[in-house]
Amino acid sequence: MKSPTTKSKLEPLSQREKVSHLFSRLAFGARPGDVDKVLNTGIDAWLNEQLQVKPSENPDLKERIAEFETLDLSVAECSEFISSNNAGRDATEEERKASRRLQRLPMGELMQAVALRAVLSERQASEVMIDFWRNHFNVSFTKGRQIFSQINDYEREVIRDNVWKDFPTMLSDAATHPAMLNYLDNHLSRRPPSKQELQAIERRAKRKTGSKTQAAEAVSLATQRGLNENYARELLELHTLGVDNYYSQNDVIAVANVLTGWTFDGGRSGSHEYKFDSKMHVEGNFRVLGKNIHEDETGDNGQGREVLEILGKHKGTSEFIAMKMVRYLVADVPDEKLVTKVAKVYRKTDGDITAMVREIIGSELFFARENYRNKFKTPFEFIISALRVTAAEITSLRGLENYLKDMGQPIYHCDDPTGYYDVAEAWLDPGVMALRWQFATDLVGGKIRGVKVSDAFYQQVPTDSSPRLWQHHLTKMVIPGGAGGRTRAALTTVTSEYLEKTKTPDFYKAAPTLVGMLLGSPEFQQQ
């Protein structure tokens, strides 16, 4: 099916190619020296270090992260932070501006922290899987102001903390987090008000307004409050079973009913944390996926937890999660046999994420030639890997935001609950390459605010090496697996042109152009 490649499909990967592949798939690219180091210590040692349950931060990263003010705030604290920075009624334009900036600080800091960790963390496999879950359980700042205080906590408690735990835990943590309930409108989903409640509403409105018509209007408004199917549908379609797999519209409605009352205390004096509001809950028994789910008589939210438990154990969930993981880590078109195997591991281990990742890496498909450099990097992966291979010095990552936006992948801004896609079909349109070339030349040209290719990167090239060897060294650093004939030829041409023009070749003048070309080369777009 694939066109013949320069190397035979059967030829196994060399050890260097294997390690470079590892850094492509379980890391956002290799920093200078990474590949050589693992060639010495071995792939298994690297994996054992990486697939550890507790994520930790290397000191340099820790120091950077500590600079952020809002990253560790709980939802309640973050809400407090945002509301305490409200501009007063008499605020000047300048004060208003400052207030707006502070209210957006949690969002800005989180976006920076996500990128910073992806670039600098030595626990690369964790960061790679965190990005996977971040998209699987997508929430987005585009939802509006209320969510500004909720996503920092969500990223920390739901995604990062659970990255190597089990899927059902992450599922239930997501289901009870204000960010998710808000993003998919479940916090508003409720039973229609009872007669008594309507009467109370009418009385209150009459007392307040003194108008009969306005009271009637308030009642009519209240009658309409009710079920919102948004979260229930995406819970089945995107988080667990996969679209139209094993469930029907009736299941969506039943799950929406069961989950009424799953909300958060969002009022001014509220805790802003998740709560089960029995007053919003539709009481009754429902049939979900062929099972009768009885009302939890204790008045707690046991009914919803039962549904989540069923979903967490469902065969469909194991298959869907396995398929997505294989697609993410191995190939855009996931191998069915491998998916079946990984799904089995899911069922055997109750959705243990580490066990599933190990199963995938252990399969012969992971290091197969046909899957080597066969996935197109997403914009995020492209940018992060460019910063990693060039050991970029970072003072701020704000400058990157516009590039990610132009390429269609700003962090935590994916409107669709699907999250950002991880397959080439979604990203590889004619036109996208122009933006990547722009980024590559801007990066080496020092035109991105807060980011520059480090001197240490260039200093790896032996000072006494002849100009003809510059490209050889630089290629090895940027594309450790090696570049193809056409890319090498293009680099040679550029070097030759440079040498023709100058009598005193200067590595530091020529190198940025070559590195920019390498970052924009076909090989660097693939992982």
Partner: protein, 436 residues
């Protein structure tokens, strides 16, 4: 393009390279005819100077809140808070329907009979998943997971001739809408990427991605096939260079206008992302360089909460949408006679409002067809009423006009292209005779 055949095969490889194995193994019979070069009669391919602008409202726009059935006796009962009446500023179209007040800028197009709203339009497939429904509408193949070529791309491919313009289609956004994805190369370009500064990059990277390839040290030709599976990237890069250059040439020729500027006929573009996109499309269309198809998305129509009636999130969005569209039409001027603008959305929303002054995922919605040659000025499509017994599954607007019949009618009447069998997999389209 030096060699069309070579280009064709490499483009096919491009698609395989991006991992869509289904494309290779299950190319629908219709698409396969391209490969054996089954000629398309020249008369069909040559559509003169005509063009289609395809606008997709993503998120499932509520047709009932656009073409409002104020005269339907069940309407208000379903939507106690959202419902509007003529007193609320609705713009009466006939005894049943009115335009939402926010769509007022489109009224004159309706009156001049160039705006044809189609009610109860959409896909007959029952899915309420945004993502499946969008795919299927844009691939024009509901329920079919193997078709991966957009319907407009299929048109472009089928009518491709030696003399076709090199720049037949474009999308003004970061990524192509799925309707334009496929074998025929189409450029996706964000509105702000038209600046000249990226030209130097095109020259630099042509060495990797251009047609000629380079020479290796020994003087032998570099392998045209790059290392491993980057073939897809190389093709994408090559097309980026080719088409972006052409695009800049065309846009560069047109007189520049800033947003907020008043166009020739007096209608102002608001300042928004959609506006920027339409302005770029207008430039290319007016340049007369043979652009046939342009695609653009408008996101954010998933109004589960706060949709509102006269006022609300949807009204705000519709205001921008209608102002942009009206400005676009007046910007096009006489060119509008050669243009058909299609507006569609993946499905409609529940007839009954939900608890949050919003609506949930439904079934049928509305489609708009706008243009000089359209029979506008009246409501198209069979309206079956909003009585509960007449609703789809007792809750949603039924679909009485399959979106594929609209596609078929536009292609046939506007482009003079009669779709061959299997253009729409497992579907025999019927012409909407009232439309043209």
């Amino acid at each position: 393009m030096k060699n069309k055949n070579k280009f064709e095969t490499s483009r096919r490889r491009f698609l395989q390279g991006v991992g869509a194995a289904t494309v290779a193994s299950q190319v629908p019979a219709f698409a396969r005819t391209f490969e054996v070069g089954q000629a398309v009669p020249a008369a069909i391919g040559a559509n003169g100077e005509k063009s289609i602008v395809c606008i997709f409202l993503r998120g499932a726009a509520d047709g009932l809140n656009m073409i409002v059935p104020y005269g339907d006796s069940s309407y208000e009962g379903h939507r106690p808070t959202l419902a509007m009446d003529l007193d609320d500023g609705l713009i009466r179209l006939d005894s049943t329907f009115a335009l939402h007040p926010a769509l007022a800028p489109l009224e004159s197009l309706y009156k001049s009979k160039r705006f044809a709203p189609i009610v109860c339009a959409g896909s007959t497939h029952g899915t309420r998943s945004h993502f499946d429904a969008q795919d299927w509408m844009e691939f024009a193949a509901p329920g079919n997971r193997t078709m991966r070529e957009g319907w407009l791309n299929r048109y472009l491919m089928a009518t491709k001739t030696e003399s076709s313009a090199t720049f037949r289609a474009v999308a003004i956004q970061e990524l192509l809408p799925r309707s334009l994805r496929g074998t025929f190369p189409v450029l996706a370009v964000p509105g702000n990427a038209t600046k000249k500064k990226s030209n130097k990059n095109l020259d630099i990277f042509e060495r990797f991605y251009g047609d000629s390839g380079g020479m290796l040290e020994g003087g032998e030709m570099a392998n045209m096939q790059p290392d491993n599976d980057a073939a897809g990237v190389v093709e994408s890069g090559r097309m980026t260079i080719e088409t972006l250059r052409r695009f800049q040439e065309i846009v560069g020729k047109a007189p520049t206008k800033r947003s907020g500027d008043v166009t020739v006929s007096g209608s102002a573009y608001p300042s928004s992302r959609f506006s920027t996109g339409l302005q770029q499309i207008a430039k290319v269309l007016k340049a007369g360089e043979g652009l046939e198809v342009a695609g653009i998305d408008y996101n954010g129509w998933d109004d589960h909460t706060g949709e509102g009636g006269v006022e609300g999130k949807m009204a705000t969005r519709m205001t921008d949408f209608a102002q942009c569209l009206a400005a676009f039409c007046s910007d096009l001027g006489p060119e509008l006679d050669n243009t058909t603008i299609m507006v569609m959305t993946e499905f409609g929303r529940t007839v009954r409002e939900n608890g949050n002054t919003g609506t949930d995922h439904g079934h049928g919605s509305a489609m708009f067809v706008i243009g000089g040659d359209v029979k506008g000025g009246k409501i198209h499509g069979d309206w079956t009423g909003l009585a509960k017994k007449d609703l789809y599954q007792g809750r949603d607007v039924p679909v009485t006009t399959d979106f594929r019949n609209v596609y078929y009618s536009v292609l046939k009447n506007h482009f003079g292209y009669k779709t061959p069998q299997e253009f729409f997999p497992d579907f025999r389209p019927q012409e909407m005779r009232s439309l043209y």
